[in-house]
Symmetry: C2
Subunit: 207 residues, 2 copies
């Protein structure tokens, strides 16, 4: 019997302010069965956070051992705490035929690509740098200094688009999300994911 097709690992990434969060929110609304990742972290649980739901809470030694054993698809150290994406949690869903969405920054996405190149890597870009600066400004959470730094970073980050499979311009989030859905459908017809059908057709005859 030919292998059943795995789910797609869909990685949505892009510079800060490009709107990947909004797009991923729309995708989750439209695809309620979409799998997701629960990150590991070494930071202490906050009030209301549950282990295995919000995060897998681990000690630094545990996370370092996961890194050494290649059990994280990607990880980063932020303000002295580790954050990472456990490979097994994601792969179990994919093997069960479930698509998994990772919304992730660029450094993380490139690490995932090294570990799981058969993923589908989508880079979200703003329609213009002006628009990007407006969006970051509108959030109102950042000081002008931070905005200027984010914009400079965004320009550097745009260059990493080359390493992705697809680029989507996020002018209107709903349209951008629809384009991601189109990509997901087309990826299902990719020969690496459909060749098993040819095997099945040829095996019918041998029965």
């Amino acid at each position: 019997m030919a292998a059943a097709p795995h789910g797609l690992l869909l990685v949505v990434s892009g510079p800060s302010g490009a709107g990947k969060g909004t797009i991923c929110g729309l995708l989750r609304q439209q695809l309620p069965d979409l799998g997701y990742s629960v990150s590991v972290t070494t930071r202490a649980p906050r009030a209301g956070e549950t282990d295995g739901i919000n995060y897998f809470f681990k000690s630094a030694a545990e996370v370092q051992s996961m890194i050494a054993d290649d059990e994280l698809l990607e990880y980063a150290e932020v303000y002295g705490n580790y954050y990472g994406t456990p490979r097994r949690y994601v792969e179990e869903q994919l093997e069960a035929g479930k698509d998994v969405l990772l919304e992730i920054d660029i450094q993380g996405a490139l690490q995932v690509k090294e570990h799981y190149p058969e993923g589908v890597f989508v880079f979200i870009v703003p329609p213009s740098l002006d628009e990007l600066s407006k969006r970051i400004y509108k959030r109102g959470t950042d000081s002008l200094d931070v905005i200027a730094r984010r914009l400079a970073e965004a320009e550097t980050e745009l260059g990493y688009a080359r390493k992705y499979d697809y680029i989507i311009v996020n002018d209107v989030a709903a349209k951008a999300a629809a384009k991601v859905l189109t990509i997901m459908e087309a990826e299902r017809y990719k020969v690496s994911r459909t060749y098993f059908i040819v095997d099945e057709i040829c095996q019918q005859k041998e029965k």
Copy 2:
């Protein structure tokens, strides 16, 4: 200024009886601007055939010289006559931003892939060998001997699916055509065809 995107070269292929002709007919209906290829041939024009419309009628020496100069995306010799797809005619349309559809047999498609690997290669398969034999039989144009030979060929040909980008099962032609349209849309977002947008975004700032 970044390069404007070329059209897609869409190559639809598959074994005899898989239904590529029906699917391509539907695609042309739905995309009236879809470019196409006019083949060169060394056979004599038939009544009503016009040079440059039905075929480019050439001498054997002319076609051999085109082959030597790599001016054909693919060619075959059938019953002593050459048939081929002129590269320039196709490329001019692609460069003008027009998508071009080639409906072509497997040997031809694989030759096109060698010359133009950036094309989008779609392999159409029947839902089953039983269904394939019914379809070939229903055409009523072939003797039982020819049907048996076509079926045997189809099984061999199915193995070439591996060399394509996408596999579409043609259970209902309209659905299969819709899947090809989805693939065409997704391919437009491929990084090789969209990276120019990132260049444009970054250039805006320098103005």
